[in-house]
């Protein structure tokens, strides 16, 4: 007979405590999502909760926002979305392009250097984001260059690197150097061995890092708030501008779209880290 890990004696009080904790945790993490989702179906244009009547009004509003060009707003929602996606794609490309070779060198190199480098790349995470935003703004202004989209890409890369690096490093740590040597002994040049053996085995870690980069960059607000200009702005900035004075329920409907996309991506990350999926 199978023995339960948790004692069931004492009136099941252990079970009760665990159920309580789990419920609290789930509520805290999902309550905002639930509220936003319910409110996005509201029929009223105020933000009273719970909504008195339900409708798809705000969803049609979002679709209208994307399909009809709004001449009044300086930066349209379409422009912001395109910028956001473009920034995210560039950030993904740069961060993996940096992190794959870096993770390889750190994993194969001196242990102490590895610790130091990991710490260095984690710095942007412990730095207060507002200060980081001001710092990047100061640097960008003092350069006196037309940076365009790069004023947002560069801070995003700094934020995303630790996540991507960590994923690549943990992927590397499972790859024994004997595998590379085996490929080399069979006639592969060292670079060929990395391409044929190391990269395919890092695949899951690289993909997980890519998705982290995408989500973090796409949702980033604080630093971007300092860096955006009239020409270069992202979707979170646009949403903030729509809600700063009075809450516009169409942004809630838009958030639901983003949440759905994010959840799909997070499920994907989960599967990849568990090593069950293979996308290529």
């Amino acid at each position: 007979m199978r023995v339960d890990l948790l004692p069931t004696e004492g009136g099941g009080s252990y079970r009760f405590v665990i159920l309580l904790l789990a419920t609290c945790g789930i509520l805290i993490s999902s309550l905002p999502v639930i509220v936003v989702t319910i409110m996005s179906f509201s029929a009223a244009d105020n933000t009273g909760f719970p909504p008195e009547a339900l409708s798809l009004l705000w969803y049609s509003e979002v679709i209208a926002l994307f399909t009809s060009e709004d001449a009044n707003s300086a930066q349209s929602v379409v422009g912001s979305t395109v910028t956001s996606l473009l920034v995210a794609v560039i950030v993904m490309a740069i961060s993996t392009g940096v992190c794959i070779p870096l993770a390889y060198v750190l994993a194969r190199g001196d242990r102490r250097i590895r610790g130091g480098m990991e710490l260095l790349f984690t710095l942007p995470l412990v730095f207060p984001l507002v200060i980081l935003g001001i710092a990047f703004l100061l640097v960008a202004e003092s350069l006196r260059l037309e940076l365009g989209i790069w004023r947002i890409v560069i801070p995003h890369v700094a934020l995303v690197l630790p996540f991507v690096l960590r994923n690549c490093l943990s992927a590397m740590s499972g790859i024994s150097i004997e595998l590379e040597e085996a490929a080399v002994s069979l006639g592969a040049s060292p670079l060929r061995a990395i391409w044929d053996v190391v990269i395919p085995l890092m695949k899951a870690g690289i993909l997980a890092g890519l998705i982290f980069a995408l989500i973090i960059s796409f949702n980033e607000f604080t630093i971007t708030f300092f860096m955006y200009t009239v020409d270069v702005s992202t979707l979170p900035i646009w949403m903030y501008s729509r809600t700063a004075s009075s809450l516009d329920p169409s942004t809630l409907a838009l958030s639901v779209f983003i949440i759905v996309a994010d959840v799909v991506l997070i499920v994907l990350v989960d599967k990849l880290i568990a090593g069950r999926a293979s996308l290529f």
Binding site: E181, A182, A183, S185, G187, A188, S189, R192, L201
Partner: protein, 351 residues
């Protein structure tokens, strides 16, 4: 037989920081022979194999393959097939792609590659596993696939780094026989690293015993077994009694009453260690304590065909192995006389 040196390890030394991993290793490996590098852990045997493979550079000395200096050739240009201790099969490739990897790098593709892979799978007696992932294989199957992958490229040298150490005893026994048969079938010059003296004795044409980065003895296994060069080799090759017999006089020592003449010249007064194998010690029951070579059995165990004794004699413990028939009537506490055949006793200067 004329000597045909395939690989000459020419005075190779290797230093790691302050440690001498290898000191002046000079070894000529015959074409088609099976050489075992044998020694305790840390003796430098794996370092030597990695220098041959090209993964380490020698600090001093050179490697001469067929008369050409290959010391500065990178490992992927040497094309030596290697089997690693972890086997290092590519986990993201099927068995066929693992074996075919070296062929692919040599531009052998499509049907030619498939035929060669099938041929090799036939040789390792696993004809139906080509499309399986390596994770679905048993230990013995992985072993065979790793060997097939290394032999697929028809390497001039076949290198193995303790490839059988992860297998259980019976499988290891079978794999040793198979490995030897494969090596003879392909006729490939082979260097295998091991710390297991039985494995080395079983496989090797030439046995190289290493200790502390230096070659202690290099000879065919039976010669090393019967005529070890020093007390370390005698001890390491298993079950030898090392007995301090004191100073030598007139070229002979006294081994519990048996005079043993030294085959090699020793100076009078040199302190001598005598090595004699457990199965080379004779044992006869005695009733009285009259003779000097009488000891008392302090331990015995039946090993089936043979019985092993530990005999306490003059404050020393000697291992003796006799056939079980001779053990009749003997028990712990029995008095026995030990006899030695001087021809089977090796004498070394104690250091």
């Amino acid at each position: 037989m004329t000597s045909d040196t395939h690989l000459h390890i020419n005075n190779v030394s290797k230093r790691f920081d302050t440690v001498d991993a290898l000191r002046d290793i000079d070894l000529k490996i015959e074409r088609g022979s099976f050489v075992c590098l044998l020694g305790p852990s840390g003796c430098g045997k794996t370092t030597l194999l990695r220098i041959i493979a090209g993964f380490e550079a020698a600090s001093k000395g050179s490697l001469i393959l067929d008369g050409n200096d290959i010391s500065n050739q990178p490992p992927h240009k040497r094309g030596f097939g290697m089997v690693f201790q972890s086997l290092a099969l590519f986990p993201h490739m099927s068995v066929a792609r693992n074996i075919g990897y070296g062929l692919k790098l040599r531009g052998i593709k499509g049907a030619a590659q498939r035929d060669r892979v099938e041929e090799l799978l036939e040789v390792i007696q696993l004809p139906h596993i080509a499309d399986r992932p390596v994770s679905a294989l048993s230990g013995g199957q992985r072993q065979r696939v790793a060997i097939a992958r290394a032999l697929a490229i028809q390497p001039p040298l076949f290198l193995l780094d303790e490839p059988l150490s992860a297998l259980d005893a019976q499988l290891r026994d079978n794999m040793q026989i198979e490995l030897r048969q494969l090596q003879q079938k392909f006729g490939v010059t082979t260097v295998l690293v091991t710390h297991d003296q039985h494995e080395a004795m079983m496989l090797a044409d030439e046995l190289v015993v290493l200790k502390d980065g230096a070659i202690r003895q290099s000879a065919p296994p039976t010669q090393i077994y019967n005529d070890p060069a020093d007390s370390f080799v005698a001890d390491f090759l298993g079950a030898a009694n090392l007995i301090d017999v004191g100073a030598i006089k007139g070229g002979a020592v006294d081994l519990f009453g048996t005079p043993v003449q030294s085959a090699t010249p020793h100076q009078d007064g040199d302190n001598i260690l005598a090595a004699v194998r457990a199965e080379h010690v004779g044992l006869t029951p005695v009733l009285s304590n009259g003779k000097t070579c009488v000891g008392e059995i302090s331990f015995m165990r039946d090993l089936g065909a043979a019985t092993e004794f530990v005999v306490a004699i003059q404050g020393k413990d000697l291992r003796v192995r006799r056939s079980s028939a001779e053990a009749q009537g003997l028990d712990i506490g029995s008095k026995v006389a030990l006899t030695f055949d001087p021809a089977q006793v090796s004498l070394f200067k104690a250091v």
